[in-house]
Structures are given as C-alpha cells and as structure tokens.
C-alpha cells in the first residue's frame, strides 16, 4: 500500500510501476492525451489519477479475495458428495445356521450410516446364496443394466429384472437381456458365526458394491 503511494508521488511514471497496469491504463488514457505535461497541476492530477487507480485495484482485490472466501463453503458443500469416500462398513446379515445350503434368500439390512431423515431409503436388501456351509455369494438387488430391483425365482433359479428384461443365473452371471455384466456382489466374511457384508453404497459399473 505505502509502496504504491510513494511510487505515485514521484510523478507520472508511477503508473508504469503499478502491478495492475491494464486497469490503470484504461482509467488514465483519455485524460493523458488532453492533459498538458508542463502544467502546474500535473503532479496533482497524477496523484488524483493514481489514487483512483489504487482504489479500483484495491476494490478488485478485496472483492476477489472476499468472493473466493465466500465461495469456499458454498462450492465446497455443494461438491462435497463428489469426494466420494466409501462409507461402507461390515454389516451382520444373520446367523450362519439360518442360511440353508442351496438356498438363495432376500435379506434386508440397514445402511451403516445415514440420518433419521432417510426414512425407508435407509433400508436396503440383498440376495444371499449359500453354496455350501460357510461359502456364500451376496448379490446386490440392483440390475447391472440400470439399477432396477431384480427378483429371484427359486423354481427356474433365475433373477429377472422388471424394467428391460435382464436375466441372471443363480450364480449371478448374465443369462440374457441388456445387462453388460453379471449381478454386483458384496464382499462377505464370517465373524462370530455371523455372515457379514461390506455395504453402504449403491453398487455400480465403476466398482462393485
């Protein structure tokens, strides 16, 4: 601030020392042509001009800094979901003894994170297929085509999607229709005689559940 002030006091050349030359020139050029260089008031006029230029530069700087600071929480909060940390946790689905070998069953679970505001959408469902004692496949209910809920049919051992007719075999592999791949699978583990899955996000083509 004081640097600029003293520069300007030296005379007209002060303008060339300005950091923000463009703003300065725009303000000054019309007058520079009409003002006589030898005139008494020159120094005074120059000082006035540079004060104007300084105010403009200061205003621009302050608004830019202030605007950027205000934008941080606004843009930050708006884009926060894109940070996309995986909030998944291990969720118990039930006792091992409750899963019969050879069966595929629909199991519901509650999202490991969320708010009371989520209502029913905090709940979720998955298909647990018990291949043999202690060996499982856990499928997301979402069709790999566009996410509609697939339904399990025990008799034909098929998952069918009501939207565009995607069909999957009991091992989750694609049987027919538009899906580009088989059903999404959750990671599972056995802890304390419980079957647990790692869940908490909508499965999608980019990554499994």
């Amino acid at each position: 601030m004081s640097d600029q002030g003293t520069d300007d006091m030296h005379g007209q050349n002060g303008m060339h020392d300005q950091h923000d030359q463009n703003d300065k020139l725009d303000m000054k050029n019309p007058r520079a042509s009409s003002a006589s260089r030898s005139c008494q008031d020159c120094a005074h006029a120059a000082a006035k001009e540079s004060r104007r230029g300084f105010l403009f530069a200061a205003g621009t700087t302050l608004l830019t800094i202030g605007g950027a600071l205000v934008a941080v929480p606004i843009v930050g909060a708006a884009l926060a979901p894109a940070a996309n940390r995986n909030p998944s946790k291990w969720i118990p689905l039930g006792k091992l003894v409750d899963f019969k070998v050879g069966d595929t069953v629909l199991v519901t679970f509650t999202n490991p994170w969320g708010t009371p505001d989520d209502g029913d959408t905090r709940e979720n469902a998955c298909y647990v297929r018990c291949l043999e004692a202690g060996k499982f496949q856990v499928f997301a209910v979402n069709c790999a085509h566009l996410g509609c809920p697939v339904e399990w049919f025990e008799q034909s051992r098929l998952f069918m999607c009501p939207c565009h007719g995607g069909v999957y075999y009991e091992d989750g592999s694609r049987a027919s229709g538009p899906p580009p791949r088989g059903l999404f699978e959750y990671q599972w583990r056995i802890a304390d005689e419980n079957l647990e899955i790692f869940a908490g996000r909508l499965p999608g083509l980019q990554e499994d559940a």
């Binding site: 894109a82 029913d120 509609c148 809920p149 999607c161």
Partner: protein, 513 residues
C-alpha cells in the same frame, strides 16, 4: 344540472389520470406497455401462434400451485410420502391442487413441444430470431428438467428406482462416473440427501432458470417481433428483412392487445377448462408404492413424458448403449440449438422445406412409437404371470397326465413370465401358442436346456423329468387349440388335431436324460 352531476365523475377521472401520469413519470409504465402488450404484430398471427402463450399460462399455474404445495409438502425422505397422502386426504382441495400441478405439468410440456414444432415448421427461427430459438431450446430443457424432478418429488417406488436409473446412467461416464453419480444423489446411496437435492432443483434452481429464460425469450420476441405466417416465395434475406418487416407491421399490423391476443385468450381459456376437467376426472398422480428398497416386487415405470426413453433403453443395442446415453443427449441438444445458425435465411414456408417437414414427421412418429412401446413394454418379463395368469381351458383339455405336468412346469418354471400361450403371458420371448409347428421335440429340448437367442438355459434349473413333461406339453401346442379358443366352442371340436404323442413317447426316454 347535468354539469353539476358530472363534476364529481370528472374529478375522479382527472384524479385517476393525474395518478396514472404520476405513476408513468416515476416508472415509465406506459412506455413499457406500449412496447409490450400494445406492440404491433402481423395481422395474420392468429391460431398458429397460441401455443407459446398456452405454455406460459400452464407455467403460471405451476408456479402458483407449486408455491402452495411447497408450503405443505415435507421435503424429507422420511415424511415426503406421508405429506403427499396428507395433502390428498386432509388438506381442503389438496387432491385437486396436486392434480392440477401434475396435469398442468403434462399440458405445459405438450404445448411447449407443439410450439417448438410449429416454430420449426414455419421457419420462424431464421434471421433475426436466432436467439429467440436458442432461449426456447434452453426453456425446453429446463421444462423437461422440471418434469423429471417433479416426478422425484412424489418419492414413491417409481421415484426411488428412477433415481437408481439416473445414477446408473451417470455411473457410466468414463473416469468421472462415481463423482457424477455422487453429485446427482448427494452421496453414495439414494437417501434423504437425494430428495433435498432434487427439491432444491425443482423449487429454486429450475423455476428460477425458467423465469429468467422466459424473460430472455419474451424480450427477444419483443425486440425482433413475431414472425409473419410463412409464404412460399418470400424468402428471408438478412440484408433487407428488418426494414421490410418493420414497414409491413407498421402499415398492416395490429396491436398485440387486444387484436392478436383474442386468439390466445380463447385458446388458453379453453385449455384451462380442459385442464380442470382432466385434473378433476383423473385426479393426482400417485404417490405409488412406498419408496422402500426392501420391497423387491417393484416394476418401476417413468411418467408418460419419459416413456420413450424407457423404451429406447430397452431397445438400444447394449454395445452402443453407454456411448449413446452419454454422447447422444449433448449432441442432440447442440444440433437443436444450432438450427437457426445452420439455416439462417431462405424460404420459411413448409411447402418449400420438405426436409424440415420430413424431420418433424419422422421425429414425431419415432417418439410416438417409442412411447407406445414404453406403455406396452413387451421386453419386460411379466413378473406375476407364472402365478396369476390363467390358462385357457383349450390349452389344457384332453392332455395326458405327462402333458398336464408339463403345463404345470410351464407355470412353475416362470416360462409364462416371458412366453404367452393364447395371448396370455409375457411378451419378452416368442408366443408359444403354436410352437409345435415350428420346433421339433429335439429342438424344444435343446432350446430349454441350452437356451440361446436371448433365452436363459434351463438345463440346471429343470430335472430331466421336468424337461420331458414340459416338452411333451409344448409339443401339443400345434395350433389345433386355436380354433377352440377363437370360436369359444370346445365341445364343437370333435377331436383335437393329431398330437405328436407317439413321437413324444418314442423320443422322450432317449432325448431327456
């Protein structure tokens, strides 16, 4: 006597004039009115020009009804559904308010699309009205956005799974799919944050954008004038158009209000009554099933306006789907917005622009056919057909026990979800009413066990006995039953057409292991 009587009236009139003069001095309102509602328009701007006004009238209804709805609706995933039921059942006139908002949304979109087609067919987008068109294209997108986000406000099963479809489409964007999806949903799942996000879009961002765009749209209409009815042989030449138009409108034009506005008023008034009638008769949209992902028996369908998209997603070749979903819309929008720059001058009359007419016909037909297919959705398995679709007696009568067992397998193995017999059942796979005339016993066995042609293989799901029974049954579907179902006189048919039982008996032990 009369002068004395007139005096107070005169004074009132003078005071009113003084007041108006004061108001005009401070606001310039008369100048604004002269420039807007009284601006001169071509004399022949009549019934073809009413659709834009009707679109705006329905938008006004949306704003008014939407504001009141927003005072009652609870934009919370836990309470939205119940607040809609509350509006429908408890709030005085609540159901009619929702019905008006829903149907007016449809009406607005229909009027907007007709307006778009009319402007395109009349070449009204040409010089100097390019930006009128461009602002109209963005208005069109904003309106469709409002319609889609409004469907989400219902927060029922269709809304929930519709969001899932949106998320799955966003997810396909290479590299940024996850981030895009998270921004769309407001997190890694569909949740309360998703509803508040779409609520913000639906009641703040998109209406704000629409109002701003309507301002631009109307301003450019006022600045460049309403186009005249196109006449063949009167091409637009940017060098001379403005002077010619000004001269014609000054010489032969009429003020928009009241001359041209009469048509708009009659049409809008009639449409308003139609809207009230339709809303009162059909009532509000939804809410449908609960937005509970645990309820797996959902069959999500979009609103009518987006059924064509639903159909396209089922019919696009899977290999091209991601590309078309991500690249198609931006390219289509860019082409639409670029129309006035691609063809800026020349003939406006539809009779001299056959390609434009053909385009409108093709696009309209295409969207209509896709919408119709979307209503029927033959590609969707009928998830309940195997338990709820009855078999016509003609397709069961006179069968052997083995064949009857096959008929049961046909139900229990969910064959019927995709295949019809006698027009009852799914349409995903071929109709099997006369399958025995097309496929031999061996071919039937092979098709069931190995699948193919978009049919899953049933080799692991059905035992050999079950397959044998099923094929025995299918082999009786040789068309002989059709006469019975068609005439409805089973008794009149003396004997069923020769069924391939002997062949079946001969083949079955060998073929089905």
């Amino acid at each position: 006597m009369t002068q004395e009587k007139m005096k107070p009236a005169l004074m009132v009139k003078r005071a009113a004039l003084d007041g108006l003069r004061w108001l005009d001095d401070r606001t310039g309102i008369l100048w604004m009115l002269r420039k807007s509602v009284f601006h001169r328009v071509p004399r022949n701007a009549k019934w073809w020009y009413v659709f834009g006004s009707a679109t705006m009238m329905f938008f006004t209804i949306q704003i008014a009804s939407g504001i009141v709805l927003a005072t009652i609706y609870a934009p919370s995933a836990a309470q939205a559904y119940e607040s809609l039921v509350y509006i429908d059942e408890q709030v005085p006139f609540g159901w009619m308010l929702r019905a008006l908002h829903g149907w007016s949304s449809n009406a607005m979109c229909i009027m907007m699309l007709i307006h778009l087609a009319q402007v395109f067919l009349h070449g009204a987008y040409k010089f100097p009205r390019e930006l009128t068109w461009v602002s109209g294209v963005f208005l069109c997108l904003t309106t469709l956005g409002l319609a889609f986000t409004g469907q989400i406000m219902r927060w029922d099963a269709d809304a929930y799974w519709g969001l899932g479809i949106g998320a799955a489409i966003a997810d396909r964007a290479p590299g940024i799919g996850n981030q895009l999806r998270a921004l769309l949903l407001g997190g890694p799942v569909i949740s309360g944050a998703t509803l508040t996000r779409f609520f913000t879009l639906h009641v703040f961002i998109l209406p704000g954008a629409a109002i701003a765009l309507i301002g631009c749209h109307l301003y450019s209409v006022l600045r460049n004038g309403i186009s005249e009815m196109p006449k063949a042989g009167e091409p637009v030449d940017p060098a001379t158009y403005r002077e010619g138009y000004e001269a014609r409108v000054q010489k032969d034009g009429v003020p928009f209000y009241p001359d041209a506005a009469r048509h708009d008023m009659v049409f809008c008034g009639a449409m308003l009554l139609v809207l009230i009638g339709v809303a009162a008769w059909f009532g509000p949209f939804g809410p449908g099933a609960l937005p509970d992902p645990r309820i797996i028996e959902a069959s999500p369908r979009p609103d009518g306006l987006f059924l064509w998209l639903f159909a396209a997603l089922a019919l696009l070749p899977p290999a091209s789907e991601t590309f078309l979903l991500l690249v198609g819309p931006p390219v289509a929008i860019a082409i639409l917005a670029a129309v006035p720059f691609l063809s800026n001058r020349g003939e406006r009359a539809p009779s001299r622009r056959p390609i434009s007419v053909l385009l409108v016909v093709l696009l309209t037909t295409g969207f209509a056919v896709l919408t119709l297919l979307g209503v029927r959705s033959p590609w969707s398995p009928q998830m309940k057909a195997w338990t709820s679709t009855p078999s016509d007696i003609a397709f069961i009568a006179d069968r052997t026990p083995l064949e009857l067992q096959g008929a049961l397998e046909f139900q229990f193995a969910q064959c019927r979800n995709c295949h019809s017999i006698g027009d009852a059942g799914g349409k995903r796979g071929p109709d099997l009413t006369t399958v025995a005339t097309r496929l031999s016993w061996d071919q039937l066995v092979r098709q069931i066990q190995q699948g193919g042609g978009n049919m899953p293989a049933y080799g692991k799901a059905l035992s050999s006995v079950e397959t044998q029974a099923l094929v025995a049954y299918l082999s009786t579907l040789d068309g002989g039953d059709l006469r019975a179902t068609l005439t409805g006189a089973l008794e009149a048919q003396p004997a069923r057409d020769a069924a391939p039982e002997p062949v079946a008996a001969e083949h079955s032990p060998r073929q089905v292991q």
